[in-house]
Structures are given as structure tokens and as C-alpha cells.
């Protein structure tokens, strides 16, 4: 005879979850609107940079879900993007599918790989999972990304954008809308049963189990979502480059020397979708600024690695955390706070100017 426990108290009136937008949020939205218009004066190069940044933002969301929310270190983001790009290439160039059909297929193509990870490594410590993802990425680089039928051989796949989005400006707007929709979705995920389960698993797996959370299923779902986001990013990347070749995706070490992690961490901390979006925009733009400097690849690599380390050590909440702490300091001790803020900005501008001069 089972007996469910009686309710603890009479039910309270349910609070609404719709809120009016605060003034800070309105300002933020206006800022994003301004940001969106940024590429306009720079012509087709500006749009290319914008599109590239937005794709990085989508890949960043993949990291936010799997590492930021669920606390799983996955070194497979680029592999998922590669799968997405290749499948888009095959579907469009080889089978003649339209983009709006190829893209969901690209996302679904990541699922088998996510499941392999889920089955083997999800019950293990985070470290083992990281090793497993690195190993799988390498194995994929050797098989899928060398398989001519998948990669279209040396020359890859030639894809063209669907009719309404052929121009740079229109493709940029499409990406902008998609990226922001995905940011909205990933943010929504955080305030939900499964999102909180992921955060719980990341924070204290044992306690999560003690509260009835199926930690293995939670981790698997995190991987599935993250993989699909990566695949979607890859699909859009294929359209951006118009020619998909395998060389970009063959080495998993691209992950280890890439700016992807930095973009996710530096603005909002690794668990904020909007932060990943803004970070991608900020860093890709900076990367293009550094283009002028000699051997920019190396400089930028050192600079972004330094950023990653410094932020992870001291401000894991990213620039948003810096801003929050700074704001608190200004309110508590105004003179000190403002001095610090101004000097930080001055130093940053100075360093940037120095880099451009040296380049």
C-alpha cells in the first residue's frame, strides 16, 4: 500500500513568469541593434566578418550547453561543425537538396556521434570524457573527413545560397536572426527542468542524483543538443564559404589552438548564452583587426590564450562579472571605482593601439 505524502500547505497564488522589460534590458537590446548595423560601412568584407562572427556565436552556444551548463569538457565542437558542413555539402551539392532541408539533416547527422560519446563516456569522470572526445575527434578526422564520398574529394563541395539570401547583406541578416533565435532558445533552456538539471550535474553530481535527477540522461541530452548546435553552425559555415573542403576539420588540435573557448568565456562566463554571442562578435572583430599585424596568427593566439587563462583564473564570470563588480565598487566608493574603470579602459585602448602600431 503506497501512500503519497499530503501537501505541505494550502497552495499559494501562482506567480506570473512574464515580466516587463527593465530599462537595463531595453538598453541592452538597443545596443544589440546598433551592433547589428555595425558591418554596414565596411561593405562585403564587413558582412563576411559579421557572418563569421555569428557562426562562431552558434558554435559558442554549443560549448555553453555542454560545458557551461552540464560541465562536460568536449573537444568535439569543431568535429560537429565539420559533420554539419559536410552533410550540408553532400545534401546540397550531391543530392540537390534545398538548404532548409539540408540544415536539419546536418543537425541530425551529429546525433550518432553524440550517442557514441553518451554510451561510452557519460558514466565516467569528466576527465575521461574529455579524453574520449579528443580521441573521437581525431578518429573522425581520419575517417569521415578523409572519406571522399563524404568530403567531395580534394575540391570539396560547392554550395550556393538559396535564392533570397545570395547577397552578403541578406545572408548576414539571416544569420543574425538565426543566431539570436538560438541565443533565445539556449537562454530559455537554462530556466527549465532539464537546464537546471544540467547545472546541478555540473555543480554536484552526487547531490543531483540524491534529488532524483537521472544524471546520465542529462549528460546525454546536453551532448545531443550541443552536437546539433555544432552541426547547425557547420551548415551555415558551408554556405558562408560556399566551398566546403575537408582540410579545415581534419585536425582536432584546431580546437586546442582555437579562439572558440575564449569567445565563450570572456564576456559572460562559460554558462551565458548571450555572453557567448557577444564574445564571438568581439573576438572575431578583434581577430580581423589583428590581421594587419605580422604573424597575426601567433600574436592573436598568444593574446587570446592569455585572455582565456586570466579570465578562467580570476573572473570566470567574464566581462559581465567584471562590470558587476566594478559597478558595485563605484557605488560603494565612487572615486576609487571610477578611477579603476577609467584606467582599465585606458590600458586596453593603449595596448590595442600598440599592437596595431607594431604590426
Amino acid at each position: 500500500m503506497t501512500q503519497t505524502a499530503v501537501d505541505l500547505a494550502p497552495p499559494l497564488p501562482l506567480p506570473g513568469i512574464r515580466r516587463r522589460l527593465t530599462s537595463a534590458e531595453l538598453a541592452g537590446l538597443a545596443g544589440l541593434g546598433a551592433l547589428a548595423l555595425l558591418p554596414l560601412p565596411f561593405g562585403s568584407f564587413g558582412f563576411f566578418v559579421g557572418q563569421f562572427a555569428l557562426i562562431y556565436a552558434i558554435l559558442g552556444l554549443s560549448v555553453v550547453v555542454v560545458t557551461g551548463y552540464a560541465g562536460l569538457v568536449s573537444l568535439m565542437t569543431y568535429s560537429f561543425a565539420g559533420i554539419g558542413a559536410m552533410v550540408t555539402g553532400i545534401a546540397m551539392a550531391s543530392w540537390g537538396w534545398p538548404f532548409w532541408l539540408a540544415l536539419p539533416l546536418a543537425a541530425l547527422a551529429t546525433v550518432p556521434v553524440s550517442i557514441i560519446v553518451g554510451v561510452t563516456a557519460v558514466r565516467l569522470k569528466g576527465l575521461y570524457l574529455a579524453i574520449a572526445t579528443l580521441t573521437l575527434a581525431d578518429a573522425l578526422g581520419e575517417t569521415f573527413f578523409k572519406w571522399s564520398r563524404a568530403t567531395g574529394g580534394q575540391s570539396g563541395w560547392l554550395v550556393s545560397r538559396p535564392k533570397p539570401f545570395v547577397s552578403d547583406a541578406s545572408y548576414y541578416i539571416l544569420l543574425l536572426v538565426v543566431a539570436m533565435a538560438l541565443v533565445w532558445m539556449v537562454t530559455g533552456l537554462r530556466s527549465s527542468r532539464i537546464g537546471r538539471a544540467m547545472l546541478a550535474v555540473r555543480s554536484n553530481e552526487r547531490e543531483a542524483q540524491a534529488l532524483g535527477i537521472n544524471v546520465y540522461k542529462t549528460k546525454l541530452i546536453a551532448f545531443l543538443i550541443s552536437g546539433m548546435l555544432g552541426g547547425i553552425g557547420g551548415g551555415f559555415l558551408a554556405l558562408l564559404l560556399k566551398q566546403v573542403t575537408r582540410s579545415a576539420f581534419q585536425s582536432p588540435l584546431v580546437e586546442a589552438t582555437s579562439i572558440l573557448l575564449v569567445t565563450v568565456v570572456v564576456v559572460g562566463g562559460i554558462d551565458r548564452a548571450l555572453g557567448a554571442f557577444l564574445g564571438a562578435v568581439a573576438l572575431v572583430v578583434q581577430q580581423q583587426v589583428f590581421q594587419g599585424a605580422r604573424f597575426f596568427f601567433a600574436y592573436f593566439g598568444i593574446y587570446s590564450a592569455g585572455l582565456l587563462i586570466v579570465f578562467l583564473l580570476y573572473r570566470p564570470g567574464g566581462l559581465m562579472q567584471v562590470a558587476r563588480l566594478q559597478w558595485r565598487l563605484i557605488r560603494a566608493r565612487p572615486r576609487v571605482g571610477i578611477t579603476v574603470a577609467v584606467s582599465i579602459i585606458a590600458i586596453n585602448v593603449g595596448v590595442a593601439w600598440l599592437f596595431v602600431r607594431l604590426g
Partner: protein, 308 residues
């Protein structure tokens, strides 16, 4: 008779590359057990020694001297990384630890790329003796034989040091149970520094041993793009470390040789498999992971102590 030779030659080749994996694995396990950080930047720290060697050798420094000087670079980098970065990460925070090692990998790899960008190295003077030697009817590269000998010698020396000297035993104590070791008066910062120093030196030696195999293919011209093959060495190194359950050093060394052998012997396998080195490595590693090899070498209680 002709069939025997390829097997022996390939075996020698496999053991030689396995030597590299074994040395890398030793360093990885040492650092992991003593400081709790799995060093995804291990390869990049070794890479700095390779760059240093290239630089010195191209400047006319005699190869053996260049090699020894280069070997010193990695411990400096590794210890600096520990002191300035890893020491500050709380042990329990596994996610940040791994992400930071990736950041450090990026830092060192970019440094290496920067140096390569400034100077184009045209020569790759070998520091190991060249030539061929006869063994059991096969002709082996002297390089391979010496590589195996050096690796085994250094590994055995290290294992002996670890087991019999006071400092070595102190490190073992920290590796087994940090809290207890600290209570017994062992300085865990000093132990960690030594572990990072030795581990980095082993990584440097490993990469210098494998250098001719990885870099010599572009006709002597080393470019920035040659960095990534060094990174892929990390995977068989992990596999080797996993053979020892990430705790047993001699098994890690043996695992290295095993992985090297399997990799090279694969060449003799039927067609689709002979090109699938990474896949076979992945399969082996996934099997090792699923087996949870750690539990063969560490009891549940010791594992609890390690997590603390």
C-alpha cells in the same frame, strides 16, 4: 625470409615511436597524480624544447649541446605554468582545470608558432646517430634502436628515482594521499614543482626523440603547420597512461610501447585497417575507458583520498 624482415623492422619502428608515447605518458601520470591536473598542454611544453633545439641547431650550436639546452627549456615552461597558473586553480574544479590546460596549450603552441614565423628553419640536424644496424637478419635504423634504448634507460632511471630516493618517495606520498602527506610535513608545492619539472623534461625528451619522424617530411623545411602533428601525439599518450589506470607508472610505459607497436604493425594489416591508426587508437582508448582501468590499480578509498 622476406616476410620476417618487415615484421622486425616495423616492430623496431613501433617500439621507437612507442618510446615517445611511453615517456609522454610517464610525465602525464606523474603530473596528474601529484597535482591533480591532467595536462592537455603536455605536448606544447615539449614543443617548446623542439623549437629551442631547432633554433640553436640552426644557429650553429653543436647538436648534443643544443639538445641538452633545449631539454632545459621545457621544465622552465612547465614550472612557470604550474606556479603562475595551475597552482591557483582549486583542485576540485575539474572543468576549469582542463580548460586552463587547453589555454596553456594554446599559449605555448602560439609561442612556438610565433618563433617559427620569425625564422624559417631550413635544416633539421639530427642529434641521434644515423645509419643502419643489422639485427636478426633485418636492417634497422640506428635512430630507432637508440631511441628505444634512451627511452628505456631514462624511464628506468626515473622509476628508480621515484621509488628509492627521498624526494621520489615524497612525491609518491603526495600522489597517493595529499592530505596525509602534508600532515607528515611534505611540502606539496615543492613536490608539485618537481613533478612538473620532471614531467616537462620527459615530454621534451619524448618530442625530441620523435622529431625526425614528424618534422623531417617537408624536405627539411619546418613551417607553422608542422605543429599540429605533435599535438596528435597526445592521444596515444593518453591511451598509454590509461593502460596504467592513470596511476601506475611502469604500466604507462609499457602501454606506450604497446600503442606504438599496434600503430606501426597496423601497416602490415589488410587494406582498410592499415590507414585507420586513429580509429584503432580510439577503439583501444574507448575500451580502456569502459574498462575503467583505474580500479585495477587504486582502491575505492585511495580514490576518495585523491579526489579530496
Amino acid at each position: 625470409m622476406i616476410a620476417a624482415h618487415p615484421v622486425i623492422e616495423v616492430t623496431a619502428f613501433g617500439l621507437a615511436s612507442g618510446a615517445t608515447f611511453g615517456l609522454l605518458a610517464l610525465g602525464l601520470v606523474l603530473i596528474y597524480r601529484t597535482t591533480g591536473a591532467m595536462n592537455f598542454s603536455h605536448w606544447a611544453i615539449g614543443l617548446l624544447a623542439v623549437i629551442a633545439y631547432l633554433f640553436l641547431a640552426n644557429e650553429g650550436v653543436p647538436v648534443m649541446l643544443a639538445m641538452l639546452l633545449a631539454l632545459a627549456i621545457s621544465p622552465i615552461a612547465g614550472i612557470a605554468a604550474y606556479r603562475f597558473v595551475f597552482k591557483k586553480v582549486p583542485r576540485a574544479n575539474h572543468v576549469v582545470t582542463i580548460l586552463i590546460t587547453i589555454g596553456v596549450a594554446q599559449l605555448f603552441a602560439s609561442l612556438a608558432a610565433m618563433v617559427l614565423g620569425f625564422k624559417t628553419f631550413t635544416r633539421l640536424p639530427p642529434w641521434l646517430p644515423q645509419g643502419r644496424v643489422s639485427f636478426a637478419g633485418a636492417r634497422l635504423n640506428t635512430t630507432d634502436v637508440v631511441t628505444i634504448a634512451v627511452a628505456v634507460g631514462v624511464a628506468v632511471g626515473f622509476l628508480a628515482w621515484f621509488r628509492f630516493t627521498r624526494t621520489g618517495r615524497a612525491l609518491r606520498a603526495v600522489a597517493q594521499n595529499r592530505e596525509a602527506a602534508m600532515l607528515a610535513g611534505i611540502d606539496d608545492v615543492r613536490s608539485a614543482t618537481i613533478a612538473w619539472g620532471i614531467g616537462s623534461a620527459l615530454a621534451a625528451l619524448a618530442l625530441l626523440l620523435v622529431l625526425p619522424h614528424v618534422a623531417g617530411k617537408q624536405g627539411g623545411l619546418i613551417t607553422t603547420f608542422d605543429i599540429t602533428p605533435f599535438g596528435t601525439l597526445l592521444i596515444p599518450a593518453f591511451g598509454a597512461a590509461l593502460v596504467g589506470g592513470l596511476v601506475n607508472l611502469p604500466m604507462a610505459l609499457a602501454g606506450g610501447f604497446a600503442f606504438g607497436l599496434v600503430r606501426e604493425l597496423l601497416v602490415l594489416a589488410p587494406k582498410p585497417w592499415s590507414d585507420m591508426r586513429a580509429v584503432v587508437a580510439a577503439l583501444l582508448i574507448l575500451v580502456l575507458l569502459v574498462l575503467r582501468t583505474e580500479r585495477f590499480f587504486v582502491t575505492a578509498q585511495e580514490r576518495e583520498a585523491l579526489e579530496a
